[in-house]
Amino acid sequence: MIWLTWRQFRAQAVTAAAALAVFAVLLAVTGPHLASLYAASGITGCHGGSCGQLASNFLSQVGTGLYPAVYLLGIAGIVLAPAVIGIFWGAPLIAREFEAGTFRLAWTQSITRTRWLAVKLALTGLAAMAITEALSLIQAWWAAPIGQAARLATDSNFPLGMSPFSLLAFDAHGITPLGYAAFAFTLGVTAGVLIRRTVPAMAITLAIFAAVQVAMPLSIRPHLFPPDHTTAALSSFSSLPTQIRPNGGFAFGVDYLPSQPGAWILSGGAVNAAGQPVSTSPAACRSEAITGSPAWTPCLTSHGIRIAVSYQPTSRYWALQLTETAIYVALALVLASYCFWRLSRRPS
Amino acid sequence: MVIEFHLDGRSGVAPYLQLIHQVRQALRLGLLREGDQLPKVKDVVAGLAINPNTVLKAYRELEYEGLVAARPGIGTFVTGTLGGSSLAAHGPLRRDLQRWLAKARRAGLDDESIEALFINTFRSAAEEDIA
């Protein structure tokens, strides 16, 4: 059965290997130069405050030309890989056999349906996880300099300076790609088992997987662990996107925490000395001359207004990675079990 | 030498009877002699696309008549004869028949007429024998 699974999977495996190879070549060609730029930047061996500036300089240096494109291409590939796997490896796995009637050939050989499905699921599923993780690892290896710099950089307005928690970065690095691949794959297989037609199964898989991938970072991930809370002085932020509203209203967009570089900001805003949210300027700071001018934030500060932030520190990174991956793997196992039950109990 | 069977699907005669008939015919004509092996069952069915039980039934019937004997694992072999001594007369008789046929053709008879004439004469002769 192992041979048959491989033989049926061969074309897809070759395509995936080729894609991986092309990508690897691209990285191999651009990687060494990136590494040498990093070595020359002086970030390794820097101390304290100077690190932030050195890091920002390095990031602006590599922020143009080929590197951002390769970086984003890699991220995109890793994020899309599970979906592609779910659609092209998962959905047809069983659906194709029903469509072509070959299940009548397979199930009358001297092998049980359970073993048949188990080998197909295990081998193809493991391949799915392996290739997605491989993609992720080689991209992470290539982007290591950028990642390290991003963790140190004080300047957050930077296309490559993504926190490891940022949407695409969290999905593309660590071990979450394994979970996504496992889930997308088994989702595809289940759709195929239920619908028994390849193309509709592909469509359903894409729809559901996309929905889950949007829902997870927006609604679930933020609640996986209780966040830390802290306040910081307005002056500690080198840049703070501000929205000025009529009648003294204002709102701050807090997307980083100076004392916790790389932390995942869940929410942040202005609070008064008592810790209550503030959305209106104190009367004294409301005049047109002050609002929006450099004197405005000191004015707010003098009235006890600070920024309160709830966040996940970088130390939580692996805890979050493991938890999220565990959720996806658990989902994958549930779906796989369902497939076994469905195929062995109701063969019609 | 191994004989080859053929089946006439339209004759209304059961297949196994046709096989028996063909073996007997072959024995009479000396095409099959004592010690010769009948075609293997699998070869017969592979040629004719008929049920093996049909062939087995024919062979069993022939064995019952004492004409053949089955040797398990080896095959079915001819043990008896039909016609026996008359076989020697076949040669000259065949030549006489060929001459007669040539004459009939020269006289202008077609196949159907020849066959009708022969069968008619054969039958009346048989009746005379009985009577």
Partner: protein
């Protein structure tokens, strides 16, 4: 002799429709069984139930002494050839042989290779590119080389041209003779099966109409023709299968184990095709194409 296939009240329903109902059969080993019936009669359903590809709605089926195969040992004893001979289009002929060897413990590689050679199939040819007859032969090779005790074939020759059909049946019979195989093959044409079957099952409208050894069926079914008569007046032992009437004459196909002694009848033998047709028309019901006795005499 043990039964290779035994069913009791076997039935399969899809939503509202019964594809097979109340099927009770006991098929002995060592036969080539013809399963005949019009399309939609339930032949495919019965074969799929026997092969374990479907679960029954009612009743039971016993195959080779056990339930329809579910474990590898039982699966090895049963060969199945589904309708239209499904094969993996992207795999070559050699790949299919490898499949058979890989998944069947009793696989006879030599037999498989020998057959493929004799069939003149190109080992490297993708199965999707084979002709219908070649695909059927490949599928038959896979089923035979597995060395089963029972072979189930669902309309194996339905879409084959006459030459391919003949060759398929020749090869099948050779395998039966060599391996002492029991076979059940279905068709909607009795002509396909006449030469090879020695046991017959007629399935019409999801029900078994008649089943038994061909010899016995031919011996117990007779065509009676004589002066116009009501079939109901026949003695109890004579079961009327089909009847047709003209103004003065009645022709009946009856089933009986006793000899027909009534001198009014001319008794003649029935061919297999007429026998099957009679049961099909019986199942179709009285409204169909029969000449009625009419309102009065």
């Amino acid at each position: 002799m043990t039964a290779v296939l035994e069913t009791r009240g076997l039935g399969k329903r899809y939503r509202r429709l019964w594809a097979l109902s109340d099927c009770t059969l006991s098929i002995p080993a060592g036969h080539v069984v013809g399963l005949v019936g019009p399309n939609g009669a339930g032949k495919t359903t019965l074969l799929n139930l026997a092969a374990g590809l479907l679960l029954p709605t009612t009743g039971t089926a016993e195959v080779l002494g056990g339930p329809p195969p579910a474990n590898p040992a039982q699966l090895a004893r049963l060969g199945f050839l589904a309708q239209d001979a499904p094969v993996y289009a992207g795999l070559s002929v050699a790949d299919h042989l490898r499949l058979g060897a890989d998944l069947n413990p009793r696989w006879d590689e030599e037999l498989a290779r020998h057959r493929i050679e004799r069939l003149d199939l190109d080992l490297g040819q993708k199965a999707g590119k084979l002709s219908g007859g070649q695909r059927a032969q490949l599928a038959l090779t896979l089923a035979i080389a597995k060395r089963p005790e029972l072979l189930l074939l669902d309309e194996p020759v339905a879409s084959l041209d006459p030459l391919a059909r003949r060759e398929f049946l020749q090869d099948l019979m050779e395998a039966v003779a060599e391996q002492d195989l029991s076979v059940v093959l279905s068709s909607h044409l009795i002509a396909d099966l006449e030469r090879v079957c020695d046991y017959l099952i007629v399935l019409v409208g999801s029900r078994v109409r008649v089943a038994g050894p061909v010899e016995e069926l031919l011996a117990t079914h007779h065509l009676l023709s004589g002066p116009r008569r009501d079939p109901a007046t026949l003695p109890a032992g004579q079961q009327v299968i089909s009847a047709s009437h003209t103004d003065v004459q009645t022709t009946l196909l009856v089933r009986t184990s006793d000899p027909v002694l009534d001198p009014a009848w001319t008794v003649s033998e029935v061919g297999l095709e007429d026998l099957v047709l009679a049961y099909m028309s019986q199942a179709a019901g009285p409204g169909r194409r029969n000449h009625h006795l009419g309102v009065q005499k």
